[in-house]
Amino acid sequence: MYIRGAVSSLIQIFFCNNLNLHKYERGEIMIRFRNPGTQFDTQVHVIQILYENLNEQDSFTLQDMASVIAQERLMTAYGYAGDAALALSNTENESMNSALMNAKMYAEVFRMLGWVTPSGEKSYPLEFTYIGAHVALAKGDVKKLYEQCVFGINNPNELTARMSYTEQVRFFKCALHSFIDLDGIMYKHELSLGPMSVNDVSATEYDSMIARIKALRGNATRLKKAFLELAASLNMKPTPVDNCTRLPVALLKSCGLVVSYATNKLYPPRKMECLRITKHGKEAFAQLETMKDLRIDEFNSYDKDIQNALIRLGIYSMLQRAGYDTSPVEEIMSVDEALCHEILQEKSLLFSPYQTIRHDKIDEAMGFSKEKTDNPVAASVLDESKVFVGSRTAVNAITNWDLDVETKARLEWLNLGEDADFLNRVNELVGMGKNKEDIVKTLFEYYSTAKQGTFYPLISTLFKIMGFQCAFSRPGDNGARWDAIIDDERRSIPIEIKSPTEEEHISVKAIRQAVENKIVLLSRRTHITEPGVTTLAVGYRLPNERAEVSRLIQDFKNTYGIKVGVIDLYALLTVAISILIDGVGFDKEKLYGLEGMISANS
């Protein structure tokens, strides 16, 4: 697969040269919209605040953006906002730095909308565009200007690092056209198969795309097959291809061009959450149809004077359509219109320079000379926050259980069919000559797809091997609040279990449920326990968000005095297999007071 264009650009075109997968005329190509924050209001708030804070600088970096976004409480990290969020999100690994990733997400959206643009040859640092300044300074409703920017998105353009595309599409215009030609309703996957995968300059190709979607309709299996083939042809999994529709759908909805519409008309009898074009969407397309749609190839074919006039007209006419008073530039527009008369032929110009060409050409046409100020790119605020990294690492820590206590498995408790199944499986593996580590790995893999019905008894079996009398609830037993319980004479422990098919990594939700289990047990007294005894959350893998889960466990302890212990299957298998094979386990007392996440050292 060849990926043409910059990886960092928001719109990427993926091209697959596997001829066997060429099921569609141009199905191997799809605009790949990233999946950033899609809330219109948030986008506008963020650009306004960034402009207020960074406008005085010649240019700004992602770190500058991250700093402003965090300090203005427009992002959070690990439950914190402001400086604490900035500090906590700062890691050595840039891709794990949520403040920077947040800033990058906004930078990409704003660049796509033409509000910011690369200041130099590279993608960063950035500067605000003339259109971006208008969005940021708007006092009234910016929706009209926002819509103009949405219609301005077009491909190919010069804003990607390499420019080797030949495919052409003004996606949102093409999408509205497709809605109209497809009876006003489309399912999101039809967007992927349709306007996101078409060259809209070619009427033949457009018509064939519409015919192809019409042919899919009436049969959901046909649509699914086509969608899966598209994903395969892009060498992508279906979910990321589906995710590529999020941003266009959100932009279409934000502008009021489409609304959600549940219907079984397209793929009966299944009722699907589709999109329906609105009256405004139809009117907007009718207006777009009357306009001169200028793309980069044509723009580049004109001489410099004409190009400059087109740049000015493109920008001012966007603002005019968005309800701005263009009388101060009326004369300039008249002269430019006269100069471009043959190109425009009395039509309004649909051309957004900031979304199509590099800003140095625009600056020249608009007469914006860059006066160097004494405000270079701001120094990174993030660097100063590195002192906090240590504290974050600290809460990430996982406690190890050392397996150094002689322990005999309580075989008399292992009297259920599920217990016998597990022991037989271990015996088989031992018989095959596998060592402890191999057995643990094999079993861990074996249970990777276990459902509740298998996983709950397994956890109970493992605790019994460790010497805890453990009973599990059968799935569907709504009477019991916990999934299993260690039934102790004085210190019973409720266990919240998440099977790998429910969630691979133990989530915050499981931690909350473990707290609830403890409260219920203390309140209803169905088993005897003490407030200081732990409550367990057990799952296939330890939480992904370990720092956040650790903090939450601390919060619960600080507030309610409740200790939550988190154990994954690998640790339990390690202990149980060690007991079964070597007769060596861990200090059982540690379980009663467990707080936080643990692993086991054999």
Binding site: T42, T76, G79, S260, V508, R512, I519, Q554
Partner: protein, 298 residues
Amino acid sequence: MQILNEKIKRTSIRFVNELPNEIIVRPGMPAVLQFETHNMCGSCLKCDTPSCIYLDSDVIKCEKVKEFPEDRDNRVCPVGAISWNEKLEAPVIDDSKCIHCGLCARQCPVGAIYYGEDRINICYDADGYEEEPYSSSTICQQKKFINEIRNKKRTGCFTPKNDHVLEELYRRIQSSCLLPEKFVRNIMVGLGCKCATRRVGDVYVRMDAIYNTPNGTFGAIEVEFGADTLSAARGILDDIAVLHSRYQIDKHHNTALVVCLSLPNLRQGYWQVVKDIAVVENIKINTLTCGAMLVLIG
């Protein structure tokens, strides 16, 4: 770089030169503004900043937790049914979107928005209002009038509280695409509270919202419009813990609130868990439906 101005398509603005003693809200018709000597009907003021469309940014913040990263979308209508009409120079309501919650009516300073004939209406043309050219001085005059009239006594009720009205409200809520958290925030504001919701998609903020009443009561809010009310109870425990541990808000000074569409049924186990929490932690979790809150608004 010359920044162009947005075109201002406003020619006139309205206010009254004297203040009424009381505003009496009525079902089926605009409110009555009672003066010493006469009465007037509530009629659209064509507000410079229409409070039926936008909430004041101060009321969607909660000072008790200054670091709270609140959503800054200050639109009143949870479904975007009310908008500014440039031709009319006044707000208009799209009944096909409107859920009949009356939040816009609650914000109108003169009670020009009313519920009648199974829809929300706006009165535009009652007598007695000064219609003045739109200018900075008339904007100031209007602002002064609005600020003062907001302190006047307001009585009466917006809709007759019967099953039909509530059934229609719930039918519309359930078929709309409103964001429950913002809807609840705006109801809380309608009740005179300050209320901040977390931004849509911000998974790092634990609580759905926090609020402050005018007398200083503070609490976390969990919103659950579906059937998973147990997760709301767990969520509240989480919220209280985070606020207690990270923001120094004592768990016993947190009047936590779960807002549901309908009260949970007994089988869901919600009430028993709420009772367990009260027994073990001495924390009371309050539960309200949005319908009840709207009834409280009037």
